[in-house]
């Protein structure tokens, strides 16, 4: 790769990273796993003046339980999430989503925080954190703030991160009660990105009816979103074939679906409907 010239800093702490970023909030970019930024730099579509490599801050990569929350450090790699026994046990959506990303090399280097902060319209993690109702902890020169995943994704490659802010942690309330998870995705044959990706967090009542469904959708619009229309249509139903069929129709409500060489907006919506159903069925089958 022959990128444009840039400076490189590998701070030892997050505080140092924040102050480096403050020195040039427009020209500096945070580098974590590099799987979004480096390809853009290679093509010289991104020409940052300074790369602040937070991938070497060991304390930023972790998966742990704290009270009723799961805390995930921003530089935790896809592979670490994919292979976490803790997550497989208490929040299987995350490992399932992780294993659908790219290939082994990508999963070994790419990070959850990088993916979320980049907010690629076809990235996998945004769908998962939306479905899990995650909180995103951002740290900047003025301290920390927490933003709900739903408010974090603003537009195409645009998030609630202000210049100078770094995504530090993903916080997820531990799923409880009777729940089922699924992530179902149509990968683009070339890029592996989601043509459509549907993340489902499903909660059931004791009578097996739907207590609540949270559905994160990626690939369909300029940013990942919650399919509220589907969620509302499912609430209280028995989740039988008819109920799911009636609900899946709403997955593209209110969005202007993407269209590209691989999938027109019509077809993309069709895939979103079919994969919403398949993901719901899988989530239902996964309920403990």
């Amino acid at each position: 790769m022959i990128p444009a010239q840039f400076d490189y800093q590998a701070p030892a702490t997050l505080e140092e990273a924040v102050s480096l970023l403050a020195s040039d909030p427009d020209g500096a970019k945070i580098l974590a796993g590099g799987h979004s930024l480096i390809p853009a730099m290679k093509l010289r579509l991104a020409q940052p003046q300074l790369l602040i490599d937070i991938g070497r801050i060991k304390s930023l990569a972790y998966i742990r339980e704290e009270g009723d929350q799961i805390l995930i450090g921003a530089t935790t790699t896809h592979y670490q999430l994919e292979s976490s026994d803790l997550l497989k046990r208490i929040c299987p959506l995350l490992p399932e989503c992780a294993k659908s990303i790219g290939d082994v090399q990508v999963r070994n280097k790419g990070t959850i925080g990088g993916s979320i902060a980049h907010s690629d319209p076809a990235g996998d993690w945004p769908a998962a954190v939306l479905a899990l109702g995650a909180d995103l902890v951002l740290v900047g020169p003025h301290g920390e703030r927490t933003v709900k995943a739903e408010e974090f994704f603003v537009d195409l490659l645009t998030t609630a991160l202000e210049p100078g802010e770094i995504l530090r942690e993903i916080r997820i309330k531990k799923p409880s009660g009777r729940f089922g998870h699924a992530y179902q995705k149509v990968p683009h044959p070339a890029s592996g990105f989601a043509v459509v990706g549907i993340a489902v967090h499903l909660e059931l009542n004791d009578d097996n009816s739907c207590k609540a469904a949270a559905i994160g959708v990626t690939g369909v619009s300029v940013k990942a979103y919650r399919a509220k229309g589907v969620e509302n249509a499912l609430a209280g139903t028995s989740l039988d074939t008819d109920a799911i069929a009636a609900a899946e129709k709403h997955v593209c409500d209110g969005v202007d679906p993407n269209s590209d060489l691989y999938a027109s907006s019509d077809y993309r919506c069709q895939l979103a409907r079919v994969y919403t159903r398949r993901a719901l069925q899988a989530a239902k089958a996964n309920v403990q």
Partner: protein, 175 residues
């Protein structure tokens, strides 16, 4: 690539039109416009530093206003070249008096070339839509001020976008 849509601005049609032909206002509304100098009647030399996310580029080129029919129609023609490739486009803007402001209907054609064309296929449409939204959102804020009043503050765009996305959500809830 075709690009079309409508935007609702809370300002009188005449005021919106004035803003659209005022280079200073245009410079503030065109996302990333660093320079907009008049080189001839209705023709401007422009430098635009723009992008989305970490993808950024600098384009130098011209912008021209054509087919001016105050206050209902004008056409903007832009042509720029930069390190990531080139960008060309033209769009017809129709302004209609609406209930509480002005409805702008735009229909245009955007063409990109070079690196951005060959690698950004899946995002070009989204980017164009986003730029259009940025432009019209800023224009709306500009037009909401009175002539002579100071222009709206910079950095307001993010807020506007959040507002816009909140507005989408509201629409969505209604369904």
């Amino acid at each position: 690539m075709k690009l079309d849509g409508t935007h609702q601005l809370e300002a009188a049609r005449e005021r919106v039109y004035q803003c659209l032909v005022d280079p200073e206002v245009l410079q503030r509304c065109i996302p990333g416009c660093e320079r907009l100098e008049k080189t001839a009647e209705n023709t401007f030399a422009a430098t635009i530093r723009t992008g989305v996310g970490s993808i950024k580029g600098v384009f130098n080129g011209t912008a021209r206003l054509e087919d001016l029919r105050e206050p209902e129609h004008l056409r903007i023609v832009v042509d720029g070249k930069g390190t990531p490739g080139f960008l060309k486009g033209s769009g017809d803007l129709d302004l209609e008096q609406a209930e509480n402001g002005t409805k702008i209907t735009y229909a245009g054609d955007v063409q990109v070339g070079g690196t951005i064309a060959s690698v950004g296929q899946r995002m070009i449409q989204g980017t164009a839509k986003m730029m259009a939204t940025q432009f019209f959102t800023s224009l709306g804020a500009e037009a909401a001020t009175q002539v002579g009043e100071p222009p709206p503050q910079h950095g307001f765009f993010r807020t506007a976008l959040r507002w816009f996305s909140g507005w989408l959500k509201n629409i969505f809830r209604k369904q």
